[in-house]
């Protein structure tokens, strides 16, 4: 597929206090000088800001939640494709990546290209599989156990397999540090009610959280990687400010991980650097993160490269990025007309 104008469908348009990566990914794509784009927004809710951000999103469609089933999502994509002739589709939510991985072949047959991790890559990096992942790829990970009941957490403690403080994590999102059994029970219930089971119980590793946004070509090569430290963190644990780092160790770590896993697509590594300078992998998010525009500003337009890879083009790896580049997130009250809200709510299109 070679085209200077691409129709790109993108989800994750909830540009709110805990933002999805959609809008930052679009910003990168809009800045491309290799192709022009028509952006088709895939929205789950009427009040996601993305559909109303007309500088970024040309046309939006409501789509059903993945939990409503693969076929209803597929039917909706077919309809959107019949109207928009989608070239590339970039899902940006952890919770929908699995479904889209399952649909990759069917989408390809329709002429819709994606650039997602394989099912095996997606599954093995799951929070609940992290210890085995660490062992397989020779990297340090905190001890963690998937649990389905509060009593299992108490058993792990009684069996001296884990101790407080520990981290209670949702299968997709959310994490809380529990200092005792009461807190562990509260957080377990809170997370399981929101994200379902299993809940992951993880050893608390003391240190500084650092992150890497990266893109793998699926054949072991790292197309780009930019390390960042969060400078300001919201009560939801999201970065509200961050800075690019000069850290060859983190870059080397990312290259080795991508080479070892043959990672395909975007990823975010969440790491803890201990006082002994060891890096512990606490999570791999199988997509570009909401702060990906920092990488674009630092000289690595990873969303653009991802689109090119999806389109079957060869992409030369980035070799450099600007150190000390800072992002500061801000909130902004966008004024929208009732007509637009009504249109999206009733017709599912805007």
């Amino acid at each position: 597929m070679k085209s200077n104008k691409l129709n790109i469908a993108i989800s994750g348009l909830n540009n709110v206090d805990s933002p999805g990566p959609g809008i930052p990914v679009i910003r990168g794509i809009r800045e491309s000088n290799r192709f022009t784009s028509r952006i088709i927004g895939l929205a789950y809710e009427n009040l996601e800001p993305g559909p109303y951000m007309h500088d970024f999103v040309d046309k939006s469609y409501k789509v059903p939640y993945p939990s409503e089933g693969v076929e209803s999502l597929m039917d909706r994509i077919k309809y959107i494709h019949s109207r928009e002739n989608i070239d590339v589709l970039i899902p940006n939510f952890d919770s929908e990546i699995f479904v889209f991985i399952k649909l990759v072949e069917r989408l390809r047959e329709m002429g819709i290209h994606t650039f997602l991790p394989t099912l095996q890559q997606f599954e093995e990096r799951h929070k609940s599989n992290l210890p085995a992942f660490g062992k397989k790829h020779g990297i340090k990970v905190p001890i963690s156990y998937p649990v389905t009941s509060v009593s299992e957490i108490f058993d792990l403690k009684n069996d001296h397999k884990i101790d407080y403080p520990l981290v209670i994590k949702g299968i997709f999102y959310d994490a809380f540090i529990a200092g005792n059994s009461d807190q562990a029970a509260i957080y377990f219930n809170k997370i399981s009610a929101k994200w379902g089971l299993p809940v992951v119980v993880q050893e608390f590793v003391k240190g500084t959280e650092v992150n890497v946004v990266a893109l793998g070509d699926g054949a072991g090569k790292t197309i780009g990687a930019v390390p960042m430290r969060k400078q300001y963190i919201t009560d939801k644990g999201k970065a509200w400010g961050g800075i690019t780092l000069d850290d060859p160790g983190m870059i080397d770590y990312t290259h080795k991980l991508i080479s070892s896993t043959n990672w395909r697509g975007g990823m975010e590594l969440e790491l803890i650097r201990t006082s002994d300078n060891d890096l512990y992998l606490i999570e791999i998010n199988p997509r570009l993160p909401a702060w990906v525009y920092l990488a674009v500003a630092a000289g690595q337009n990873l969303p653009e490269a991802l689109v090119q890879l999806a389109a079957g083009e060869t992409v030369e790896p980035f070799s450099d990025y600007a150190v000390g580049k800072i992002f500061i997130r801000y909130s902004f009250d966008m004024i929208c007309s009732m007509d637009e809200f009504q249109q999206l709510s009733t017709t599912g299109e805007l």
């Binding site: 430290r229 400078q231 961050g242 800075i243 690019t244 780092l245 000069d246 150190v323 000390g324």
Partner: protein
């Protein structure tokens, strides 16, 4: 004691450590001292330079100097194996 080579120090006293993303503000005297350290001067040479320039005796300067360099070590702004 060697200051990290990668440390960016501006003329206004803003210090940026690109490996951690941390930044600091120095007062003018601290800026002079850290620049002398970065140029590779010994504590004795720095003491001579500062006491000659400012109205401070050697022992007072030494106290402040080691307090300051202790802080630099704590903040990991010095090369570890040279400590």
């Amino acid at each position: 004691m060697k200051i990290k080579k990668s440390l960016a120090i501006s003329e206004t006293g803003f210090v940026f450590d690109p490996s951690t993303g941390d930044s600091y503000n120095l007062n003018p005297t601290a800026l002079e001292v850290i620049q002398l350290l970065k140029e590779g001067h010994s504590p004795e040479q720095i003491s001579q330079a500062i006491t000659r320039k400012y109205d401070v005796d050697e022992s007072t300067f030494e106290r402040y100097f080691y307090d300051f360099t202790g802080m630099l070590k704590q903040m990991q702004l010095v090369v570890p194996d040279e400590e």
